[in-house]
Amino acid sequence: MIPTKRGQALAAAIGLIPALLLVARFLGDDLGANPIEEITHKTGLWALRLLLLSLAVTPLRNMTHWNGIIPFRRTFGLLAFVYATLHFSTWLVLDHFFDWSEIVEDISERPYVTAGFTAFVCLLPLAATSTRGWIRRLGKRWTKLHRLVYLAATAAVIHYWWLVKSDVTEPRYYAVALAVLLAPRLVLLRQRAG
């Protein structure tokens, strides 16, 4: 069964529910004592989850041989980009209020911010070239460009790990998930090289 455009639209709508929930909580003054921190944290979490979800699509297709799942890779990837943009914008605007000297200092001197910024920057060209038109235009180079997703996901996990004060329990789960998702790609790489 090939998923229709409607199926992808449905997936996109479901993927936006966390964002809608944040808006609802914001309107109901239910974001707790530090709402900006809560928004930053939740948008970052969903960006990471959706990114990992998009990385799960290809291995799942290879296991199930269900090609219909492939279009969802882009849906999840773009959703991840939407949340990453919300996360980065919240940090830029609500946290730093366009204090550029501080923003630059954070990105260049705080390793966890460097990692996060790297992840976001990697996602930009991927989102921009996500359409079928670009796939056609770039051909083989599209596949090469989109390998940036591995760097984005790794940088995102490192970003989370490095920003936690002492309890790495949560980031560790994501690191394990990432390792599981990267493993088949590494195997493939070694097969090609060997």
Binding site: V23, G28, D29, A33, N34, E37, F97, S166
Partner: protein, 328 residues
């Protein structure tokens, strides 16, 4: 939130922090404007209403016994006090979990009565003292202090307590002690977070003897006119307002006067990030983030962090000649 204490308000000592108008455009005002605008645009999508202060998922704070007769202190600030709901639902108390809402959710398992504090070390009167006996001789004070977390958020809390110096003096210190060491309760049955390894338990903290004997240093057993909620460190905690919040150890069971600098929990967890002194200092960044700004909970925009959290006038002399980048 109403203040429920019967307090004779003395004249405020200082008016050092005149807060600019834009910082005072606090969260509630911002939300009323934006919320009203969004609703006008048809946010009937979500079916939510703005309700002033409605908090769906906050744990209910039990009706704690009021504390009467606390005297106002000249050390109190005149700044706007943080909302009680925020102060009691946004806490770092890893003994109950590492999420900010965990302490208010799970600290119900802490038994705060009966409670006693054990004194040891270089004192003429060591031993276990019941909490009521510890507090009885001392007139209680209300101290409205700024509280600055190392994570860059801050609050203004009206504590009720007694000077630590007075409590220590009653133990007849022999005079040989150079430091005071504190310990929190260690009981994973009451404090489920202690089953995990977020920190090494029990929580430990320490002060240099002159810091401990400083008039600002408070042993607090109440806030906002009532006894301390469990999540805020009931029944007895330290408040050292010129240092980062993690120095203000909660639920104290041991106080020792010692000659060696005591080990402290956050320094043990990450020695490069959390020092013994941990004085609030905008010039010394945490390795992973800047300390120049802070978010006062309830405010929308961030504000500049002050050296010694604005208590420099009272405490800077303790550190004259000290390299505060080295002794962070």
């Amino acid at each position: 939130m109403a203040t429920l204490i019967n307090v004779a308000r003395a004249a405020d000592a200082r008016d050092n922090d005149v807060t600019p108008q834009d910082v005072y455009w606090n969260r509630r005002d911002f939300m009323k404007v934006v919320g009203a605008g969004l609703i006008a645009c048809g946010s009937g999508l979500t079916g939510c209403e703005t309700s002033d202060g409605a908090r769906a998922a906050q744990a209910a704070v039990p009706d704690l016994p009021a504390i009467r007769g606390a005297v106002a202190s000249p050390f109190s600030t005149s700044e706007k006090v943080t909302d009680y709901d925020d102060a009691t639902s946004y806490n770092n108390f890893y003994e109950f979990g590492t999420d900010k809402r965990d302490p208010s959710r799970y600290a119900g398992s802490l038994i705060t009565s009966p409670w006693s504090v054990t004194f040891g070390g270089a004192v003429g009167k060591p031993g276990e003292v019941a909490l009521e006996d510890l507090l009885k001789p001392h007139p209680k004070e209300e101290r409205i202090y700024r509280h600055r977390c190392v994570e860059t958020w801050s609050m203004v809390i009206p504590w009720i307590g007694i000077p630590l110096a007075d409590v220590l003096k009653r133990r007849d210190p022999t005079g040989s002690a150079k430091y005071v060491a504190f310990r929190t309760l260690h009981d994973p049955r009451q404090m489920p977070g202690q089953r995990g390894r977020a920190l090494e338990w029990p929580y430990r903290e320490g002060l240099r003897i002159d810091e401990a004997m400083h008039p600002l240093t408070l042993l607090a057993f109440g806030m906002y006119g009532r006894e301390l909620p469990n999540q805020n460190g009931a029944p007895l905690r330290l408040v050292v307002p010129w240092k980062y919040g993690f120095k203000s150890i909660k639920s104290i069971v041991r106080i020792d006067l010692v000659s060696e600098q005591p080990r402290t929990s956050w320094n043990m967890a990450a020695p490069g990030e959390y020092g013994f002194y941990s004085n609030v200092n905008p010039e010394v960044s945490h390795p992973r983030w800047s300390q120049r700004k802070e978010r006062r909970i309830g405010d929308f925009r961030k504000r500049a962090t002050l050296p010694f959290n604005g208590y420099g006038e009272q405490v800077a002399s303790l550190y004259s000649g000290m390299d505060l980048k080295k002794f962070f």
